[in-house]
Amino acid sequence: MASPVLVLAESSCAGVLSLSLETLAMGQKAARESDASLAVLVCGKGVSEAANELLCYGADKVFAVDSDLLEDLHPDLLCAAVSQVCEIIRPGALFMAETLAALDLAPRLAARLGTGCASDCVDVCFLQDSVGFVFTKPVYSGNVMARFALSGEPVVATFRTRAGKAPQPGEASGKVESLDVRLDPSLARYEVVKRFSGDAAGGPRLESADKIVSGGRGMGGPEGFAALEKLAEALGGAVGASRPPCDLGWISPVHQVGITGAIVAPSLYIATGISGSTQHVAGMADSRVIVAINKNEDANIFKIADFGIVGGWEEIIPALTRAAAEIAG
């Protein structure tokens, strides 16, 4: 039997991230194709609830590393914890969802282990000849898809939003196995001075939102985003943004959709005052239905939209908000 496939799941106060469950689906696929067992790992402080939740997804093993030292998920400590877990269970592949934390951890871990790493993958398959796992990922702003085989064990890969479909939870089975790892504060090579959280405000996380209302440079300032906020609320969705409003400080960067922000694929994506740069489009083109609202009828965004309204947000967005509230009411 091949070395196990290990999925590192992330959790928040709301439980296991849906993105991690989507990655779990890729782990299931990889394990099935390579005839390997599937293990899931969760690391942090007070992760027993998340670990128990993970028992419901049919993994062969669920491991937890629970340590006070992992409270802030300091990258150096997290990397040390996960690499020790890898020494214990010797996985052939380690998967994680492409989150901000994984953007740091995946290459850090691969560099430490000296193994190959592929980020932002959309698929994995297993080739029976000696090649092993082959990962598919977009390159050149999503204009080309590349397939890579990686060297070493475990190979490290991160998966983008909606690469896999989150499995439905079943009956909990088995028991969480706690792993003891040796962590020491001195492993942290930099010091966290202070932390500011709550920037993301309420509302669903972008990556897991079913409907997203996004604004671009055409919103003209923070007040445009206040209007989008109302529409998002009426639709039960989240607010997104292209890069310029984030760089200009009109809205927090956690709302950014695009190659440098969240890669999203909701059922509905409404792009308002967004011209449709490659950098943005690569982050939302897989949305099921795309609506473009823009003053400029030649804007690139209309080329990738299903529905378009040529007009200013000042008139259209409040009208949409009223109409959406009527539907909801």
């Binding site: 990258p75 901000l100 934390a101 953007l103 740091d104 290459p107 850090r108 691969a110 560099a111 430490r112 000296g114 193994t115 190959g116 790493c117 592929a118 980020s119 990922k137 390159v139 702003s141 999503g142 080309v144 898809m145 397939r147 085989a149 060297s151 090579r189 930099y190 010091e191 966290v192 001075v193 202070k194 932390r195 500011f196 959280s197 709550g198 993301a200 890069r243 984030c246 956690v254 190659i259 440098t260 509905l268 490659t278 239905v289 795309i290 473009a292 990738i304 299903d306 529905f307 378009g308 309204i309 040529v310 007009g311 008139e315 259209i316 409040p318 009208a319 009223r322 109409a323 959406a324």
Partner: protein, 266 residues
């Protein structure tokens, strides 16, 4: 403080899709009719360095370091015009950006930085606009055995250390890393400033060096962690945009929502 900014040149990522042609025989992407540019995120890293230089003009030196098969001055001159002090190029046939992977690149950059000698702070962009991998910063820190701070949106010096604001999923944190260290910069730092005409003229007189990888001692490029197995065009998604008339915003809104309902939403 001596800041080294690692800079990659890439085919302009904002070019139309048809400019990225796949040659199946050579298994390479051949950019057609588009100019090479500095990778956007590396430009952000340079901007972070320039902001530190703004605060301490005399005490800050910025070296832009770029490795590649050939690194045209025309592309990199922009970095000098924007305010970097020096350009160091590592060029050689083995440094083909399309085949050299993160570990190899980091090895060459690490050797070059060791050769530079007095670098305090090493900056890299969060990912390259072409390979979209985001690994060189981490590999560089590992190769040099230096602390690594990622997702930086602001960097300021503090004694023999730097204070770095890191972007988190639900906010940000301020961390303190002792020098020398590697900081991977995110785009929230802001776009690279536009150089004034005067600076552009001065840029041509700033020192530019070009050496081969062997000159810096990077003769044994480590084995790649990733092997390319194939290139394809993404499955084309056909969308035809139906324009909804907007003369009456309320009616347009109702029509749109009706259409969305028909598409199975709500």
């Amino acid at each position: 403080m001596h800041i080294v900014v690692c800079m990659k040149q890439v085919p302009d990522p904002e070019s139309p899709p048809e400019s990225f042609a796949i040659n199946q025989e050579t298994q390479r992407v051949e950019p057609r009719g588009i100019p090479p540019v500095m990778s956007l995120f590396d430009e952000n890293a340079l901007e972070a360095a320039l902001k530190m230089k703004d605060a301490d003009k005399e005490g800050t030196k910025i070296t832009v370091l770029s490795a590649g098969k050939r690194v045209p001055d025309a592309v990199m001159l922009k970095s000098l015009a924007a305010g970097a002090d020096e350009l160091a190029k590592i060029e050689g046939p083995d440094l083909d950006n399309m085949t050299l992977n993160a570990r190899g690149t980091a090895h060459v950059l690490a050797k070059a930085i060791q050769k530079i000698g007095d670098a305090d702070l090493i900056l890299a962009g969060r990912q390259a606009a072409d390979s979209n991998a985001g690994q060189v910063g981490a590999e560089l820190a590992a190769a040099m055995d230096l602390p690594l701070v990622t997702m930086a949106r602001k960097i300021s010096p503090e004694g023999g250390a730097v204070l770095v604001e890191r972007v988190l999923a639900d906010g940000y944190e301020v961390v303190k890393a002792h020098l020398p260290c590697v900081v991977v910069v995110s785009n929230e730092v802001g776009e690279l400033r536009y150089p004034a005409m005067k600076e552009r003229r001065k840029a041509g007189k700033k020192p530019v060096s070009s050496t081969g990888p062997w000159d810096v001692g990077a003769d044994q490029i480590p084995e790649a962690g990733a092997a390319l197995k194939g290139l394809e065009y993404p499955a084309a998604k056909e969308r035809r945009c139906e324009i909804i008339p907007a003369d009456d915003p309320d009616r347009a809104a109702k029509t749109l929502l009706q259409k969305l309902k028909e598409a199975g939403l709500f």
